[in-house]
């Protein structure tokens, strides 16, 4: 369809400007001004307090760790799923999407019950005469929650990338004498890099910025940067400091977006599964 429809572009352009661009500029404005409206860097500098730096560093460590574990878990899983019989794959992939239909807050909450001192996991361990695990309200529980919640975001782009690989290319590699490992490392893996990169950003950004997972599984003992910012807005009510801290957070998001853009060769549809 190539036909100019100038009138059609009106509604969503207005929508994009009003509800995407202007709101982001509001964060920049609030973040760089004080309550009287004068320019200041102090809101951004508020990130430097020891407590907030600790939250930021912990968020970075946990989200990088969760992203790495998701990648390590999802890649073999995607390989297994692609190698299954064609008829079954649709069904099996659905199995990994179905859990997303249960309310996500409740699903994270359920991990409380599983990880608690006398929770399901410890009861099973006790039954097997194994030592108990004290996971709830620790950073480990939060990392587990992240891995659980975001694993499908890593799986689906990688699976899609693997699905698209032409079997003839793989067969050609075998014909030319490559062994299984060489075929994987030199042919299959490079072809899935866009999927891997999009999986990494799809997991890293939400993991870095979550406040729900840390709220539910960290008690109020472990604060992530998401919690710090959320509290500035909903409890402290200081929008200037909250926006200043968000600006710092947005630097990390922009870096990960830039990385994604770099590997994304105009195939924007790939992002949406």
């Amino acid at each position: 369809m190539k036909r100019r429809n100038p009138l059609l572009s009106g509604p969503y352009l207005i929508w994009t400007a009003a509800f995407i661009i202007i709101p982001l500029l509001m964060i920049v404005y609030y973040g760089l001004t004080d309550s009287t409206g004068a320019f200041t860097w102090s809101n951004v500098a508020q990130m430097g307090t020891p407590e907030r730096m600790k939250a930021l560093v912990l968020s970075l460590i946990l989200s990088l760790f969760a992203t790495a574990v998701c990648l390590i878990m999802a890649y073999p899983l995607a390989l297994i799923l692609t190698n299954m019989k064609v008829g079954a794959t649709g069904f099996i992939v659905t199995i990994f999407i179905i859990p997303m239909w249960m309310n996500s807050l409740l699903r994270i909450l359920a991990w409380q019950t599983l990880l608690e001192r006398n929770g399901v996991i410890n009861q099973i361990l006790g039954f097997l005469h194994l030592p108990k695990l004290y996971l709830i309200n620790t950073p480990y529980a939060i990392a587990l929650g992240m891995i659980y919640d975001f694993l499908p975001f890593m799986l689906l782009p990688i699976y899609n990338a693997l699905e698209k690989i032409d079997q003839n290319v793989v067969n050609a590699a075998y014909d030319l004498g490559a062994n299984k490992f060489q075929t994987f490392w030199k042919v299959i893996f490079p072809l899935t890099i866009p999927g891997v990169i999009s999986g990494i950003t799809m997991v890293f950004v939400p993991a870095l910025t979550t406040f729900v997972i840390s709220d539910f599984l960290g008690g109020s003992k472990v604060l992530l940067i998401g919690n710090v910012i959320e509290q500035q807005f909903t409890q402290v009510g200081n929008w200037n400091v909250g926006s200043g801290l968000s600006l710092v957070l947005m630097i990390f998001i922009l870096i990960s977006m830039a990385v994604m853009q770099h590997y994304d060769n105009g195939d924007a549809e790939g992002i949406v599964l």
Binding site: K2, I95, L151, D215, V272
Partner: protein
């Protein structure tokens, strides 16, 4: 050996994904107010949830926001996809990357940016005695905004496959532009429109973060209700309702899944 290993691995992931869901479904049958102890099987929460007005109104809000935001964002997304499709590559990339911001950005940032917008708008309008009320309207705007990229990206690829000649042939044969669009283009992109709508509906149904920042006091969706209930303990009715929603989605998926299972094959052929 290799097959056995991959079976074990699949099983492990399966348990990881479904253990929390099994726990939640179990809670919905637990004859005890707290989740700390098991009080035997019961179905009473399934009856009581319908009498719990707070939960029912949260359910109503959740469904209404999900349906409306999915409808409006699909319509906006369709318009966007059509006009983006007729643009040159450079303009398209610029506009598409702006629309995509809410998808790639952190939800918390999108949420607070909208909250600041509505606060700022409220301050601006107060000069003339108007106010911005945080509630249904603001939540709906938030949901449409984060749904928009998903509907655009569901419809765009279908639209690109449409052969412009058939549309032009219809015009040459005397069809009006609207009629030609409806009869020639729309059937080809319908699957994209439907999957965009379903995706938007699902995302909206499950959203917490954007709703959290754009809702006002007195307005709750199921997610925000769960969030505020966590500290005092989730009411068992909530588990019953979520189980019921989960099961209905499963049933719907199975019904639609049968009709849809042929589609991917068609898809692959055209690529």
């Amino acid at each position: 050996m290799k097959k056995a290993l991959s079976r074990i691995y699949l099983g492990f992931i399966f348990i990881l994904l479904y253990a929390p869901i099994a726990v939640l479904i179990l809670f919905s049958f637990n004859n005890s107010r707290t989740r700390a102890k098991w009080g035997g099987w019961t179905l009473k929460w399934y009856a009581e949830m319908f009498r719990n007005e707070a939960i029912m109104s949260a359910l109503y809000n959740t469904l209404l926001v999900a349906v409306l935001s999915a409808l409006i964002s699909t319509l906006l997304g369709l318009l966007a996809a059509i006009s983006l499709n007729s643009m040159n590559r450079r303009r398209r990339t610029v506009i598409l990357s702006t629309i995509n911001i809410p998808m790639l950005n952190a939800e918390i940032v999108t949420g607070i940016s909208l909250m600041l917008l509505f606060i700022g708008l409220g301050q601006f309008l107060s000069r003339w005695g108007y106010a911005v009320e945080f509630g249904f309207g603001t939540v709906l705007i938030g949901h449409i905004t984060f749904n928009l990229p998903y509907t655009v990206l569901s419809i765009m690829p279908k639209l690109r496959q449409v052969n412009i000649s058939t549309y032009e042939a219809a015009l040459d044969l005397g069809a009006t532009r609207m009629f030609a669009f409806r009869k020639v283009v729309l059937p080809d992109i319908m699957s994209g429109i439907l999957s965009g709508f379903m995706l938007a509906f699902t995302l909206s149904l499950d959203d917490f973060v954007i709703t959290h920042f754009t809702k006002g006091p007195g307005f709750d969706t199921l997610s925000t209700k769960i969030y505020t209930e966590v500290r005092k303990g989730i009411k068992p009715e909530m588990y019953a309702l979520s189980t019921l929603l989960f099961v209905s989605v499963l049933v719907l998926l199975m019904i639609f899944g049968r009709g849809k299972s042929k589609e991917p094959a068609v898809n692959k052929a055209t690529h």
